[in-house]
C-alpha cells in the first residue's frame, strides 16, 4: 500500500484499485467473447473498405499518369497507400464504435445507476470495458492487418527507425486515449440532452475529415492545415500515421507528442467536469 489514489476525502490503495479494474477488464473480455463469431465477422467485414480505398487511390493516380503527374500534393501512389494503411492503424486504436451511444443509452434507460451506486468510478469502468473491446478486436484483426501489410509491403520505404517506432507507439496509445475521451465526452452530454445520436453523427463526419481519414491533412490549404493538425482529431489518425512514416523532423515530433499529451490531459479534465456537472443534472430516469 505505497501509493494511493484520492477520491474526494477517501484514499483507495492503488493496488486494490488496479485489481478491481483488472477484473472489470477480464469480465469485459469474457462478455465480448460471448458473441465472438458475430464480432469476428463484423471485424473482418470492416477490412473491405480498406481494400476498396486502395483500389480507389489506384484509379485516381492512374488518371494522372498520362500527364506525367505521379504525385498529388507531395504524395506518390505508394506514399498514399502507405499513409492510408497507417491511418487505418491509427483508427484501429482511436475509433470507439458505440461508446458515446452506449453511454447515452445507459443514461436514458437508467442502467447507469449501477455505476453510480457501487464504489466504482463510472468512467474508469467504461474505460476498462473499452480496453477489453479493443483487445478482443486486436486479437481478431491482427491477422488480417498483417496480411494486408504484407501484400502492400512494396509501398513502404522500409521499417521505421527505433525512435519513430517508439514515438509511433506513444502516439497510438494517446490516440486511443483521445478517441476514448472524445467519445465519452459526447456520451456524457446525454446527462443534458438524453439523445446524442445527431451529435455523434456530426462528430463522425468531422472526424472522418479532420482526423485525416479521408485525405492527409497536409492536403488542406496552409492556414487550415496549421490549425487542423493541432486539433484533437488530427491525433486520431493523421499524426500517428505521419509519425510512423517518418515524415516529421525531431522537433515536429516532439511538439506533436507534447500537444497530443496536452489534449489527453485537457480531455480527461473535460470528462471529469462533464461527469461531475452531469450528475448534478441527472434525473435517474427509467424507473
Amino acid at each position: 500500500m505505497h501509493s494511493v489514489r484520492k477520491r474526494g476525502t477517501e484514499c483507495i490503495p492503488f493496488y486494490e484499485s488496479m485489481r478491481t479494474h483488472w477484473l472489470i477488464l477480464r469480465t469485459s473480455i469474457a462478455e465480448r467473447l460471448t458473441y465472438r463469431a458475430d464480432f469476428a465477422f463484423a471485424t473482418l467485414i470492416r477490412f473491405l473498405p480498406i481494400v476498396t480505398q486502395i483500389f480507389l487511390w489506384s484509379a485516381i493516380y492512374a488518371v494522372n499518369t498520362p500527364a506525367a503527374i505521379d504525385t498529388l500534393n507531395g504524395y506518390t501512389y505508394a506514399n498514399m497507400v502507405a499513409y492510408y494503411l497507417m491511418a487505418m492503424v491509427g483508427r484501429a486504436f482511436s475509433s470507439m464504435p458505440g461508446l458515446a451511444g452506449g453511454i447515452a443509452r445507459e443514461v436514458r434507460d437508467g442502467t447507469v445507476k449501477r455505476y453510480l451506486t457501487q464504489p466504482v468510478d463510472m468512467l474508469a469502468y467504461f474505460f476498462c470495458a473499452r480496453m477489453a473491446h479493443k483487445l478482443v478486436y486486436y486479437l481478431v484483426a491482427t491477422g488480417p492487418f498483417v496480411l494486408v501489410f504484407y501484400l502492400c509491403r512494396g509501398y513502404f520505404a522500409g521499417w521505421p527507425d527505433a525512435l519513430s517506432l517508439a514515438a509511433c507507439m506513444a502516439s497510438l496509445v494517446m490516440a486511443f486515449l483521445i478517441g476514448f475521451l472524445l467519445e465519452s465526452a459526447i456520451g456524457l452530454l446525454s446527462f443534458w440532452f438524453l439523445e446524442v445520436s445527431s451529435l455523434i453523427f456530426i462528430f463522425m463526419m468531422l472526424n472522418y475529415f479532420l482526423s485525416g481519414h479521408m485525405v492527409p491533412l497536409d492536403w488542406l490549404p496552409r492556414p487550415l492545415f496549421v490549425v487542423a493538425q493541432h486539433l484533437p482529431m488530427a491525433y486520431l489518425a493523421y499524426v500517428p500515421a505521419t509519425v510512423a512514416l517518418g515524415r516529421y523532423s525531431t522537433n515536429e515530433l516532439t511538439v506533436h507528442l507534447l500537444v497530443e499529451f496536452g489534449w489527453v490531459l485537457a480531455l480527461w479534465g473535460a470528462n471529469r467536469w462533464l461527469f461531475a456537472r452531469g450528475l448534478r443534472r441527472y434525473s435517474a430516469f427509467g424507473g
Binding site: 478491481t20 460471448t34 445507476k113 453510480l116 451506486t117 441527472y282
Partner: protein
Amino acid sequence: MIAIDVRQLAKTYQVFRKREGVWASVRGLFRRDYKAVHAVAGVSFQIEAGEMVAFLGPNGAGKTTTLKLLSGLIYPTSGEATVLGHVPWKREYSYRRRFSLVMGQKNQLWWDLPAQESFRLHKEIYHISDDDYSRRLAELIELLEVGKLVGQPVRELSLGERMRMELIAALLHRPEMLFLDEPTIGLDVVSQRRVQDFLKHYQAEQKLTVILTSHYMKDVEALCRRAIVINAGEIKHDGPLAQIVDRFSTHKVIELQFADSTIPVDLDRYGSVFDVMSPRAKLRVPKSRVPEVLASLLSRYPVEDVSVHDRPLEEVIAEMFREK
C-alpha cells in the same frame, strides 16, 4: 440509533411541456415551456437502524424519487438527509460500500455472463476477503436455492431466478442499508413468496435497515410493521401498518352466512352489499353502526354464521390514493 434522518427533503423537476401539433413543435425549437413537477415536496422522517419500513404510494407519488435521493443518485432541490451518517448525494465511496439498491425492473448483473462472474466482480469492487466471499456466497446461494443456476448466463434465467441473483449480488458485501424498489414486480406467486421469506429471514438475522417500495400489499404485510404512505410528494401517514386501516378506513365488513339459501332482499338498508354468493353475503358498514347493525341482523334473519373484518389493507390504501 437513527439510520436515516430526512428533513424537509424536496426534489422538483423542470419538465419540458410539449404542446400538440407540428406548429407547436416548431415553436418549441425557439421557446420552450417548462413546468415544475414537485416529485418530493418537503418530506421528513426518521428510520431506526434495523427497521424494515414500507414506502407506499401510487405511481408517481415520489417513492422512487425518495429512494434515488437516499441512494445518492440525484441531488435534492432543498432539504437535508443523512443515511448512516453520510449525506447521500456526496456519493462517497465509504457510503456506497454500506448500502445496496435493488430495483425490480433494473438488471445490475452482466446479462451475457453467468451470475457468478458478476459476484466475483462485486467481490473486487467491494473488497470482500476470499473467506468472507466464499462463506457469504454459499450462505446466500443456500438460502435462495440457486445452487444450480449460478453458472448459467443471466439472460437464460427466469425473472424470479434473476431477482434472487440480484439479491445475492446486492448482499454479498453485507450492506447495512438496503433499498428495495419493487423487488417482486412481475414475479409469480411462488417466486414472490420465496423472495419475501428470504428477506424476512435475512433482515431479522442481519438486523439490516430496509426501505421497501412495493405495490404488492402481500409483500408489505409480510415484511413491514411500519409504513410511510406518500402521495403527490407528501407524506400522508407514517406509523404502524396496522394503524392505516384504523385511521383511514371508516367502514368494516360484516360477512354473513344465512341458514336458508335466500338472501334477504332488504339487506342494503344496513350498508352496501357486495360479494353475494348465496347463502353468503358481505356488507360494508360504517364503523360506528356495526353493533347496531349486527344486533338488528341477528334478531331479524336466520343467520348461521357471522364475522366482522377490517377492510383489506390493499383496498384502504387504494382508496387513500384515489382521494389524494
